[in-house]
């Protein structure tokens, strides 16, 4: 199986063959069916996919924060020389809050309602810098809030989560993540639960992070336009697999995988007059179904017999690009 | 038919857990004794046999006799009957009354509703045993009083749940459309509201059975519950307790009977609730 073309020296995280299975009432659900992915050092990777593509589970895997019905976690995940999946629970827990930080999707429930913003941030700081004085911690927390665009930082520090709007809570979450000074920042659909205007503000915030934050960012979203705006690299997921990766501009201008092409076609074109909205026919495959062929084949306009018979491997298709399609090269 | 199928699957789920199965067995045992008491009991529970008072368990008297020579086993079996009668009667009354008030409260204008809720609060402000004592002080002990008091203390419990369930249901779209279509109030309540809220209420009712048994036993233990010649477990415990220095068998036997029964019903009630919807009863 050929690897992605990112030079191994610049990849912060290399994921190979990541499999995730969960036991459900209806059988074993294959949430991730062998994911190969590289996360570039200091780059922003956008992971795009619809619901059920496994992108959020991928995020959880990065932190190894998995729900209790997970039965099998396989594959490799290397950061520097550590295979994170083979590390025991305590060690991986040691990475959280020190080298990895995560921003969750729903800011309304992500903060503990009984504790102030200050408590949240100070506890995170204590973890990251054990022995830091309360004065110092509060100072840093205040500075972090300012850096994410929160005015009245002192007021907000003493506030409880329910006194803050959704957008403000998400800013607090981002501040918390930045305080960790992580190597890897995972943002799991950070704007999905927000209003459009607030979403725009948060996106601007992330834009600003490019210059201020030196680690890598994984930005997960189902909104292609957002990812196009923010990210350096793009990873398209479908049905628990990666179908295409590469620098964002290239993937979007010359998509190689039928799913990516279909996604782009679905984006509402404000220039087009009239006509019907494009959609992808069919439904996402049931995760309980076994993995025998290309996951996208049932909905793919260009699927042929090979697509329905073999699992397409992720292959290189250009400089730093990969695609998982048997028919790569044959399609226009 | 759907209902029957539901009941069966629920029972299967209940038996799936160890506690549920044990609870079900005990419940069936107690119910069996209660219903078939005259046949299960070996003697007439009131038959005096003063010559053999305080006898230890023998072949003739399986669990021995009490201070008047009455057969303990038979009295215990009939005690199950008393406990069940009182429990079912009071819960039935409380359920009917509480549900009606609860549904009513959900539809009343705000001030009247507030009044109903305050009435509920007033009743709940009396620890049930204490309320029972206050009433018994006035009217004297009797089984009817016990049933009535226990029913009254349970009314707020059912009433609140019925009300909150109805309120949730009221805002359901299908009820709105019924109203708009001009369905009569009666039809809405009996045909739609009631069947939907009855489920959780019945589960709550089954979980209240051990509570009722306990209150009744407590009252009878104090001599303020059922009157002789009726003998509930509470009475038996009191009798045994009074003569504890002569023999500890009666008090232990009747206590164990009460403990096992309440435990069994509790286990069963909880397994039942967990099988249907673990969130029942957690609403305020």
């Amino acid at each position: 199986m050929s690897q992605a073309n990112l030079a191994t020296t610049t990849a912060l995280v290399r994921i190979r063959g990541l499999k995730l299975e969960a036991s459900t009432q209806r059988g074993t659900a294959h949430i991730l069916r062998g994911v190969d992915l590289d996360i570039g050092r200091g780059r922003i990777l956008g992971v795009v996919g619809e619901s059920g593509s496994g992108k959020s589970s991928l995020a959880s895997c990065l932190l190894r924060l998995l729900p209790s019905n997970i039965t099998h976690l396989g594959g490799q995940r290397r950061v520097r020389r550590h295979d994170l999946l083979k590390l025991d629970d305590t060690t991986i827990a040691g990475w959280r809050g020190k080298r990895i930080a995560m921003i969750f999707q729903d800011p309304m429930t992500a903060l503990n309602p009984l504790f102030t913003v200050a408590t949240h941030l100070v506890d995170v700081l204590h973890r990251r810098h054990p022995g830091i004085s309360r004065q110092d911690a509060l100072g840093r927390a205040r500075a972090a809030l300012v850096s994410v665009g929160i005015a009245d930082a002192d007021l907000r520090l003493a506030a409880y989560p329910h006194q803050l709007s959704g957008g403000m809570r998400q800013r607090v979450m981002i501040a918390m993540a930045l305080l960790v000074e992580p190597d890897l920042l995972v943002a799991d659909e950070p704007t999905t639960a927000l209003d459009a205007t607030v979403e725009a503000q948060i996106v601007d915030l992330f834009e600003g992070l490019r210059s201020k934050f030196s680690g890598s960012i994984v930005f997960i979203s189902h909104h292609l336009g957002l990812v196009a705006q923010l990210c350096d690299d793009l990873c398209v997921m479908y049905g628990g697999t990666v179908v295409e990766t590469g620098p964002v501009a290239e993937v979007l201008s010359k998509p190689q995988h039928p799913y990516t092409q279909a996604l782009l076609a679905c984006e509402i074109d404000s220039d087009a007059q009239g006509g019907r909205l494009v959609s992808i026919p069919g439904e996402v495959q049931d995760p309980v179904a076994p993995h025998m062929a290309c996951v996208f084949a049932p909905r793919c306009a260009q699927a042929d017999a090979r697509c329905r018979a073999t699992v397409p491997a992720l292959q290189a298709c250009g400089a730093q690009r990969t695609v998982a399609c048997v028919r790569y090269g044959e399609l226009g | 038919m759907n209902l029957l199928a539901n009941v069966f699957t629920t029972l299967r789920k209940v038996c799936g857990t160890l506690t549920g199965a044990v609870g079900l067995v005990i419940v069936l045992l107690v119910l069996g004794c209660a219903i078939f008491a005259p046949w299960v009991a070996t003697h007439n529970p009131d038959a005096l046999d003063v010559m053999s008072r305080f006898s230890r368990p023998t072949a003739a008297h399986w669990l021995g006799t009490d201070h008047l020579g009455r057969d303990l086993f038979s009295r215990m079996v009939h005690g199950a009957s008393i406990a069940m009668q009182i429990a079912i009667a009071s819960i039935a009354i409380a359920l009917t009354l509480g549900t009606s008030l609860g549904i009513l409260a959900a539809y009343l204008p705000a001030r009247s509703e507030r009044f109903v809720l305050i009435v509920f609060d007033v009743i709940s402000s009396f620890p049930s045993l204490v309320l029972a004592l206050a009433v018994v002080a006035v009217f004297g002990p009797s089984s009817t009083i016990v049933v009535f008091i226990v029913a009254v203390t349970l009314v707020p419990h059912f009433g609140r749940v019925a009300r909150s369930q109805t309120l949730t249901l009221k805002s359901a779209p299908f009820l709105e459309s019924e109203r708009i279509l001009g369905a009569s109030w009666g039809r809405i309540v009996f045909h739609h509201v009631l069947p939907n809220i009855l489920g959780p209420l019945v589960i709550l009712a089954s979980m209240d059975i051990p509570v009722v048994i306990t209150i009744e036993a407590g009252l009878s233990f104090l001599g303020l519950g059922v009157r002789p010649p009726l003998a509930s477990w509470g009475t038996l415990i009191q009798d045994g307790y009074t003569y504890i220095s002569d023999t500890w068998v009666p008090v232990v036997v009747s206590s164990v009977a009460l403990a096992v029964a309440t435990l069994g019903f509790t286990l069963f009630g909880e397994a039942l609730r967990d099988a249907v919807d673990p969130r029942i009863g957690r609403e305020h």
């Binding site: 827990a93 992500a110 309602p113 | 006035v138 407590g218 435990l263």
Partner: protein, 325 residues
């Protein structure tokens, strides 16, 4: 913030006052519908007819009902709970005489229950599914289900009669603190056991519920230690549903105390009420029950107010439910 808390406080106080008023109304109604000759109840069968007549006019029992109601309410509010016709002592005095015993017993039981139950609950939550958890679950249910007085009788049998470790009945004759303490062990234990089971299970359920919430996931994602998460964060969140349901169960504690006092022949409100009922001494019953109700309602009020101490959402927004997360 202050204005909000004040508003909340006032509305709760008003409701509480209404409830006490309603309870008084109920008790008065009960006393006025006593079947038969009221004096037979109040004076006992030995009273002579002349005495009864004088008594009736003195007590105003021949007045129309609204006047009696007014007298009743104004008396109670002035602290006059009536006079015990048998002994002539004031009912309030009699109650104050015995209430320390009941309070000490109840307070010790609650303390024991909280101190034992909460750690057990946390243990069960953090060791979910283990053998210890299952055993604890069963034992908790057993103690919750079995009536307190039955437990009391068993404890009495085992420890006082068979093993003869502890004194059996009553309060201390010698008056030494140690003797008092020894006599309190069994009753306190009997009362507390049901509560230990109740609290342990409640804490366990609340903790497990809280542990599944998103904000705990955030704490985990940031690598905060399990100890910090459990004891600082989750425990505080779990307090809210715990206190809610605890408040609902206080009534059973008081009811249990009554029976246990009687089983162990200890003086207290329970014995007082029981004795009064046997003597058909209704003023005493009425007064004692009223005191119990007031205490009960006050405790509920305190429980409710403790929400706002714990949950800032209540303070800032009156009327919201104390929901978790």
């Amino acid at each position: 913030m202050q204005a909000d808390t004040l508003r909340y406080l006032t509305s709760r106080l008003v409701t509480t006052a209404l409830i006490v008023f309603g309870a008084m109304l109920l008790l008065f109604t009960l006393s006025s519908i006593v079947p038969g000759d009221p004096t037979a109840v109040l004076l006992g069968p030995q009273a002579s007819p002349e005495f009864s007549k004088r008594f009736i006019s003195e007590m105003g029992l021949d007045q129309p009902i609204h006047i009696r109601m007014w007298r009743f309410f104004s008396n109670v509010l002035r602290g006059d709970l009536g006079t015990d016709v048998v002994s002539g002592r004031s009912v309030l005095g009699m109650i104050l005489n015995v209430i320390p015993y009941t309070l000490v017993l109840t307070f010790s039981a609650i303390t024991l229950a909280v101190v034992t139950g909460i750690p057990l609950g946390i243990f069960a939550a953090t060791h979910r599914g283990t053998v210890a958890d299952n055993i604890l679950a069963f034992v908790s249910v057993a103690f919750i289900a079995v009536p307190g007085f039955v437990v009391a009788i068993f404890l009495l049998l085992i420890f006082a009669i068979w093993l003869n470790w502890l004194p059996v009945l009553g309060t201390s004759q010698s008056g030494t603190l140690l003797d008092e303490f020894r006599r309190m062990i069994l009753p306190t234990l009997a009362l507390a056991l049901g509560w230990i089971g109740f609290i342990a299970r409640l804490v366990r359920t609340s903790m497990l519920e809280v542990m599944g919430e998103n904000y705990i996931r955030t704490s985990r994602a940031y690598g905060l230690s399990e100890r910090l998460i459990t004891y600082k964060y989750a425990l505080k969140n779990a307090c809210i549903p715990t206190i809610t349901i605890l408040g609902l169960g206080i009534g059973r504690l008081l009811g249990g105390a009554v029976l246990i006092e009687i089983v162990f022949a200890r003086p207290g409100l329970g014995r007082l009420i029981y004795g009064a009922i046997s003597e058909r001494n209704y003023p005493v019953v009425q007064g004692a029950v009223l005191v119990v109700v007031v205490v009960f309602v006050l405790v509920n009020l305190i429980v409710d107010l403790s929400y706002s101490a714990i949950d800032p959402r209540i303070r800032h927004n009156t009327g919201s439910a104390g929901a978790v997360g």
